[in-house]
Amino acid sequence: MTALGALFYLLAAVLLGAAILTATRRNPVHAVCCAVVVFLAVGGLFAVLGAPLPGVLMVVVYAGAIMVLFLFIIMLLGLPAGDGPLPAGRLLVPGILGAATLLALFVLIGADPAAQTLLPAAQASPAAVGTLLFDTYWLAVEAVSILLFAALAAALLLGRGRPGPGQPATGGRGA
């Protein structure tokens, strides 16, 4: 086994362990911490497979932004934190569903002969990815960004609530 191979299996083991912990923790902050480890390990796996760009994006977007927001919300809500794992009964149905999905995934990947090779797009340089995104598929990217913007505006509008009697319709000060 090469050094990179050993690193791959090590990262994979860390990933699996952290993922299981994420799914079973009762304390939301512990779950978030484990999820961050999962995303870091996924980033590392991408890097080991020779695709640093998706790896770094995984860390920047998921570990660095989305999970921080999760943590932020958990801290803001101040939920009473439990400890230890969830009871096995509550894990049964999600566990079966997850196992079924995993099985289906493996069967599908195994059935495809192209699964043995790495996706060339994943290993592409940042410049190539950029060209692909903003040249070939620019319409789709713009459509998605407009969709996200619409969702953002809608959320803002909903979050403002209805103006009460004698209260101006403007929202509170905030960002």
Binding site: V29, V56, L57, L71, I74, M75, G78, P126, A175
Partner: protein, 329 residues
């Protein structure tokens, strides 16, 4: 054989970079205290050793010998790990920072960087975004309302300004046509990007000031409102680790600014390493000067500055830069 040599070279490089970063950070504390003193018409520490040069050593020793208090009601594991996250992410970011062009030893060319990745810029951003965890987790686990407030402020502030930070670097990438830090420096052999992109430079400096949580953006630790914010409950070496993180971050910010905007090691007359050192040190000196000069922002001012000024300005700058690049092509 060659592989082991490579491993050895890598280890030596890591040791050198780690030593330089930590040593610089330790003396950054002394520099800050000295300079702040002079800005306030006093001397600053000058007792330990000649001109107080051994002060960092004395501080470190003091911190090491202090009791490591773990308060009741904290989440022990997270409490213990949080300071290391702050210091670790700051140190790890030095892995992609180049210190010069390749050196040649016995016919082998050794690049003066640990990892010359083609996504180096993104790695710097990724590690700076991970530093939030140390702050937020340390604050949450301290089981102290002031810490929690500091942590929430810190998380919101760092998420907000990360956006402006990333956007302000886009024009740099557009000019350099690469995310590799070595390529970015190579692209500035003529004019540094600070002169080509003054708006991006200004946004970057302000956003990175906020990212390092220094005055005027030190709301997470605002001493006179939140005692010490997220590190209220920390003591001894764990408390010091937060500070090691902050000062390593200052040095990192200097290095990154030098590479992204000030032309890295390029400069007339003097050898490259001198230019790099001058540029790396100029940024922390500016930060200290800022600390001596400006008062802390109010929280709504901070958010308004980030979202209503810096982000639109950075986006506009990207648009203008792109248009100019297309017109020039």
């Amino acid at each position: 054989m060659d592989m082991w040599l490579g491993v050895l070279v890598m280890l030596v490089k890591m040791a050198v970079v780690l030593g330089v970063a930590l040593g610089l950070a330790a003396y950054m504390i002394l520099l800050e205290r000295k300079l702040l003193g002079r800005f306030q018409v006093r001397y600053g520490p000058n007792r330990v050793g000649l001109f107080g040069l051994l002060q960092p050593l004395a501080d470190g020793l003091k911190m090491l010998l202090k009791e490591d208090i773990i308060p009741d009601g904290v989440d022990r594991r997270i409490f213990l790990v949080a300071p290391a996250v702050v210091a670790g992410t700051a140190l790890a970011a030095f892995a992609v920072v180049p210190f010069g062009e390749g050196l040649t030893f016995f016919g082998h060319t050794v690049p003066q960087v640990i990892v010359d990745s083609n996504v180096g810029l993104l790695m710097v951003l990724a590690l700076s975004s991970l530093a939030v965890y140390g702050l937020a987790l340390g604050a949450w686990t301290s089981d102290n309302k002031y810490s929690l407030l500091g942590g929430i402020r810190g998380a919101a502030q760092m998420i907000s300004y990360e956006l402006a930070l990333g956007l302000s670097l886009v024009p740099v990438v557009m000019h350099a046509r690469s995310l590799s830090l070595s390529d970015i420096v190579a692209a500035q052999s003529g004019l540094p990007f600070a002169l080509m992109e003054p708006v991006a430079f200004a946004t970057f400096i302000i956003a990175s000031l906020a990212e390092t949580k220094r005055i005027p953006f030190d709301l997470p630790e605002a001493e006179n409102e939140l005692q010490a914010g997220f590190h209220t409950e920390y003591s001894g070496m764990r408390f010091a680790l937060f500070f090691v993180g902050e000062y390593v971050n200052m040095v990192l910010l200097g290095a990154v600014t030098a590479i992204f905007f000030l032309g890295g090691w390029h400069g007339p007359f003097f050898p490259p390493i001198v230019w790099l050192a001058v540029k790396v040190l100029a940024v922390p000196v500016f930060l200290i000067w800022t600390r001596a000069s400006l008062p802390r922002l109010r929280y709504d001012q901070l958010m308004a500055l980030g979202w209503k000024v810096l982000v639109p300005l950075a986006l506009l700058n990207i648009l203008v830069t792109g248009a100019l690049l297309v017109l020039n092509a």
